[in-house]
Amino acid sequence: MKLRMCIAMIFLVILVPVVRANTVTVVSIKGYAEVRRGMSERWIMLHVGDVLKPEDTIRTGEDAEVTLKVGLSMFSLPSFAILDVGDIRHLGRNDLLLKLAMEEIRGLPDSRPSTGNATPTVMHGRSRGSSSSYPVTYSEIGIMRLEGARALFRHKYYETTILTVKSTLHRYGLRNPLAARRLVARAFERLGLVQQAIDEYLGCLSLELSRAEKNDIQRNIRRLEKQL
């Protein structure tokens, strides 16, 4: 009887963290941070101990930092970043490639207007029901999302790094997307998707680059081509 109890307890100890692996809890907050629950339009202040759902979004202000506990590991979101909690996850390689293929199909041909003057610079309706948020411009959202993607990269969520960067580039556009695209290329590289990484670097060559940047990109391409 005692032996059975012991086995049950051991299973319980092993299984509880596994079952709770997707639970995301706020462990610490430095500075100002907010959460947007589900599809709400309101940003509310984030508190230590808050449990976040996959459909929630968090953002940090300047000089802020939020530490999350994701399952058994920690996740640190730096300042001036936006992160969809659902992006803190790994995808299978096939899922990633299929998703990218779908995005590529959706993105061709590019329907964005050639002139950028139609892009709004402020977020209408931002203040609707909002009590504690600070003003964020449209273009800042893209930058903050990229910062969130960098956090994903640092914590080795390479698949969602790629998807987040690509969707951010698609939706917000950036004046200088080189850093973002290099981040995607490096994420591909870490996933062992060498050809996709090369393609991403090749895409970078079509951007306006300095000589040093160009040399660096070409060096990376040559290095990766040797791995093929």
């Binding site: 599809m39 459909e55 979004t57 659902g86 959706r106 207007p113 309706g125 931002r126 609707r128």
Partner: protein, 669 residues
């Protein structure tokens, strides 16, 4: 090949042409009753409406082996049926031998009509001819009549009796009697039928007065029957009749995964002390157009022996086929469907339907094949032909395939389409309709072969769960729908005109939804279980407006039609779950509405970009789409939008539903 198998079978059945009693059709014996679901030419012995199952010519022959009878095995009958027209079939059967023989202990006399007469030594009945005629009155109702000519013979012993000194005597009598049958197909799975046996009996010749008690006295019996097709394979039958007897039976096809085999069983129950009067069992086998049937009926109670009846114990016969002298017997028959005229140049070997017909998307069958016919060139030369398909009333004219060529003796599957007319939208419940498939020589336009096959037409509201089909329920051009949507905008025209252009699509969607919210409510509907499958029912938008509510698919269709009528594109989001919810559903559907706004203006509509979906519309432009959950109809547009966006984010982004095939997005243009 078929005809070469027919001949030996017929010879076998005619091998020993002795006395035999044909109590019913062989299939009818096996399943107990054919009142509601008769078939083939032998239905002249049961409910003659079954003749309508005959395609062209049909021949049958049967043999009977009666137990407890000296003449154990003999010829039963031979019959032929012919289809005169689309709705009329006639039949004739002939029994060449004595039908039913009763033998008596001939040492007695009996007193009648003031004299002493020798008791008969034998009574013989011959159900010589039967004629039958069936006519279809409508798609559901058919009427049939059959008549028969019965000869009766009475023989007396040869000597030692007062009125017949020295010589035996033989007397003959005869009569006509008629049966009247009806059938009514309630739907594809339920059939009912009624039969009045001997509704009219006309005696032609009589026995002498002192033997009149031995004449056959046909009794008028009313039979009411039903047949329920539980599944594609299993059919149950039942009958009650005016003798207070109940007959139950079933027929199962595809036994042991052998598609050509059928097993049948029947139970006869009475109100007498022995409640189960008889049991029967039978087998059927079909090979191309030849049908073989066999049945055995076993009486559980004590039967009066048909040979050697004691004088004084004789009970006058009210039925030649089911009376106290009917014995356990085994019967067999072979039925052959034959084509008229000479061997056709091109013959239809088989017809199969790819699917049943859903009235809602009837137009697709004009382009997408409904089925195929397997045709064979029976000649040694190349033949050009066309195939036509026709369902009376539901099609204005037959659809013809383009001309095709068949090499000598080639067999090929030819797909056919169907151009149904709008009458199909008046079909409310599932029903089987007769379809005519004909093949004709292309050069001379003469039909060379015709096949009749039942096609299943479902009710106008039936839906198989496929979101591609659901879009056919969206009818934005209905006046009721147009008026409703326009009124929602006209009532707020000043407000709309005050808005910047990029806000107008969202506000229009909101106004229509909220007007709908004031009228409708959500309620889950019941699944429809047919004999074949489980179907959902979907209301057309005007029906939802009339009924003031519906379930998720009804409301999605209705809101989609309203937005389409205003020029907005919509798309269904169809989600399949691995488990069922509290309503027993494992699928859900909601809607995306195209704002026609480019993706980069999302912030003019909301501060949460995930409340909008970016996807291409019919003009191949990436635009913003609003996800809406119509089941939250009573909570208003904002709640429905937020819930729709949440569901879309979970289903598509988090669960990767589109990648894994759990989510389908279907455009409704």
């Amino acid at each position: 090949m078929v005809r070469y198998t027919l001949l030996p079978a017929l010879v076998f059945l005619c091998w020993h042409p002795l006395s035999s009693q044909t109590i019913y059709s062989v299939r009818g014996i096996a399943i107990g009753t054919e009142t509601a679901d008769p078939a083939h030419v032998s239905s002249v012995y049961s409910n003659p409406v079954g003749l309508l199952t005959v395609n062209n010519w049909e021949f049958t022959s049967s043999a009977v082996g009666a137990f407890n009878n000296a003449e154990a095995f003999g010829f039963g009958m031979i019959g032929v049926a012919y289809r005169f027209s689309e709705n009329e079939v006639g039949a004739l059967s002939y029994t060449p031998t004595q039908e039913f023989l009763l033998q008596f202990d001939n040492t007695s006399i009996h007193t009648e009509a003031g004299g002493l007469w020798p008791y008969p030594s034998a009574l013989e009945f011959r159900d010589r001819f039967r004629i039958g005629f069936a006519r279809r009155l409508s798609d559901e109702v058919a009427l049939g009549i059959s008549g028969r000519w019965v000869e009766e013979f009475l023989r007396t012993p040869g000597s030692g009796y007062l009125q017949s000194p020295g010589n035996s005597a033989s007397y003959r009598a005869s009569l006509w009697s008629f049966n009247l049958g009806f059938s009514y197909n309630v739907n594809a799975s339920v059939k009912t039928g009624a039969l009045i046996d001997n509704i009219l009996a006309v005696r032609e010749a009589y026995f002498p007065d002192h033997y009149r008690q031995f004449e056959y006295r046909p009794e008028k019996i009313v039979r009411i029957g039903g047949a329920y097709k539980y599944s594609r394979e299993l059919t149950f039958t039942a009958e009650v009749n005016s003798r207070f007897a109940v007959v139950l039976g079933y027929e199962q096809n595809n036994v042991f995964d052998l598609p050509d085999f059928t097993v049948r069983q029947g139970f006869w129950m009475t109100t007498s002390s022995n409640p189960i009067e008889a049991l029967s069992i039978g087998l059927g086998y079909s090979y191309k157009t030849v049908q073989f049937d066999a049945a055995y009926v076993h009486f559980l109670g004590q039967r009066v022996p048909s040979n050697g009846i004691l004088p004084g114990s004789f009970q006058p016969l009210s039925s030649l086929h089911w009376n106290p002298y009917t014995t356990n017997q085994i019967t067999a028959s072979v039925t052959y469907a034959y084509r008229s005229g000479s061997e056709p140049l091109v013959r239809i070997e088989d017809v199969q339907f790819f699917s049943m017909v859903f009235p809602v998307n009837y137009r697709v069958h004009a382009m997408r094949p409904l089925g195929y016919a397997r045709v064979r060139n029976t000649t040694d030369k190349t033949v050009s032909a066309r195939l036509s398909f026709f369902v009376p009333k539901l099609m204005s004219m037959p659809t013809n395939t383009s001309q095709f060529y068949l090499n000598p003796h080639e067999i090929r599957d030819i797909p056919f389409t169907a151009e149904f007319n709008e009458n199909i939208l008046s079909v409310h419940e599932e029903s089987f309709r007769d379809a005519r498939i004909a093949v004709m020589e292309a050069e001379v336009n003469n039909y060379t072969d015709i096949e009749y096959k039942k096609v299943l037409i479902l009710g106008r509201n039936f839906w198989n769960g496929d979101p591609l089909m659901l879009k056919y329920f969206v009818t934005p051009d209905e006046p009721r729908v147009k008026a409703f949507a326009r009124k929602a905008l006209y009532e707020n025209i000043d407000f709309l005109e005050s808005l910047p252009p990029e806000r107008q699509p969202l506000e229009k969607a909101r106004l229509v939804f909220n007007r709908l919210a004031n009228l409708l409510s959500y309620y889950a509907d019941e699944k429809t279980f047919t004999s074949l499958e489980e179907f959902d029912r979907v209301q057309y938008p005007s029906e939802t407006l009339d009924l003031r509510g519906g379930d998720c698919d009804d409301l999605t269709v209705c809101y989609s039609a309203l937005m389409n009528s205003l020029g907005f594109e919509t798309a269904f989001v169809d989600v399949r779950y691995d488990s069922v919810d509290e309503n027993g559903d494992n699928a859900h559907i909601y809607l995306l509405v195209d704002t026609k706004l480019p993706a980069y203006v999302w912030s003019s509509l909301t501060s949460n970009e995930r409340k909008l979906v970016v996807r291409r519309n019919s003009t191949n432009r990436e635009t913003l789409w609003i996800p809406v959950e119509p089941t939250l109809i009573t909570k208003g547009f904002d709640a429905a939008w937020e819930q729709g966006a949440l569901e879309y984010y979970r289903d598509v982004e988090l669960m990767l539903g589109q990648l894994r095939g759990n989510v389908k997005i279907v455009d409704v243009y």
